[in-house]
């Protein structure tokens, strides 16, 4: 796989920086390759559920962004990416010092792109997958973002 748009990484980072949600939650871009995006986030007490673990919705927010931007890396220069739907499974409480979110493209199409993601908790050198996602992303053209 390769980028279809030479400015894909620069545009991705600009779009990422315009997401208020990413800055507010402390999520940042760790790696971008064609069809794959990795994000990271430190544990934050501001985004927990009532047992003190990261909220399932916050974990999902980061997986959605990882999957959406992964799809974006394989789209044409005139396309914007939109989340059609996703499903998340939660295997374990999201406990850890920090989290890594991997999104990757399973099948890229002109209109729809299928992606999958996962959330990994990092704690004193150990790694544990705490959630997975499958998401459908849509390329939208002819609109200004």
């Amino acid at each position: 796989m390769q980028f279809r748009n030479p400015e894909a990484v620069a545009r991705l980072k600009a779009d990422f920086d315009r997401q208020g949600a990413m800055a507010s939650m402390g999520i940042s871009v760790a790696d971008v390759t064609p069809g794959r995006v990795v994000l990271t986030m430190p544990f934050s007490a501001a985004f927990t559920q009532h047992h003190g673990f990261m909220h399932a919705g916050v974990i999902t927010t980061a997986m959605d962004s990882a999957c959406g931007f992964a799809a974006f890396t394989l789209m044409d220069a005139d396309a914007e990416v939109l989340t059609v739907e996703f499903k998340s499974n939660f295997m374990s409480p999201a406990a850890g010092q920090s989290f890594r979110f991997e999104g990757e493209v399973i099948k890229a199409g002109r209109t729809l792109t299928f992606t999958q993601g996962r959330a990994i908790a990092l704690d004193d050198g150990t790694q544990k997958t705490v959630a997975t996602m499958t998401a459908t992303m849509m390329a939208v053209r002819g609109k200004t973002g």
Copy 2:
């Protein structure tokens, strides 16, 4: 349907208040009845995606909480609620002055409870469903929260 635990509403509100994510996102409880919970949230630039709409993950966070607490209203006094999985569909951009999130129980079981939710954008008196969710919730017993 009726509450199985006379302190269900009080416990729900206490658990809600302990969710850092709800306070940080400005989400509050609007209504609680047996098997149904309604939450509200004003538009917040701090939780947008890159086109200025509310992030799909943030909308999902609120729907997940509405569905989880709806399941909780029908659980025994010794049960905690855990999200097993959910799927969200996004029909329209989450644009609006404020949002309402409805979660309701479809089928309550001793271990698993099936719920559905939806997110409604409110804008100058108009209402529009922007997303829907189906979620599976699990009752966990014998653990201290």
Copy 3:
């Protein structure tokens, strides 16, 4: 809602009759209105799982067809319908003398249509929802079926 294609019902029935799976499983069309399709199926020992209930996949096959054809009723004359993804929840064992499957459109778009479905078991005059579905359908144009 209304049909966009005056021949929608006739085309739907012709397409339905060409589905080998519907005939093999004994599924038939009970009702078609704009944005909504109802199918029925008698209990069949040929399509059970190992406890003698209808197989979850067979229930899903019928819900998928109900949802897909519901989406089709609101599409243009030149469009074919394709299932992008679906999620099914199973509330109760699919036990009954016969089953009714309802599919309906939640949001119809030019490219994507969001639908929901449910499966109802009928047994000696009682009705019980045994499964629900949310499905994303896609309009495909410019191809011969």
Copy 4:
């Protein structure tokens, strides 16, 4: 991973043989290892949709069985397996001479097991993933099957 029940394979095959749906659709067991089950099915005109491809619901039926039996291989001797929910994504039309369905366990728990599956079309020596699934399976105890 290893079988928790020394008779897991024998019981799995007995349960498989009692599924009317598997026999009717021509689905058979190709391989069973702890936490992973592979099924196969030849193309069958009796289970097509209206363009002559295998029906999405039939592909789903086989993926569901592969995932359910994969979960079953890691359960205790007194447990039956039940499908809680699944989501299928359809990447490509299910065209081919035969199909292989792989189900595997992602996380096995005492009550819930998370699985994933995929459907691969085989055609003149080529292989193509046409669909994927994530499914939640539940162990049910104390009931006779």
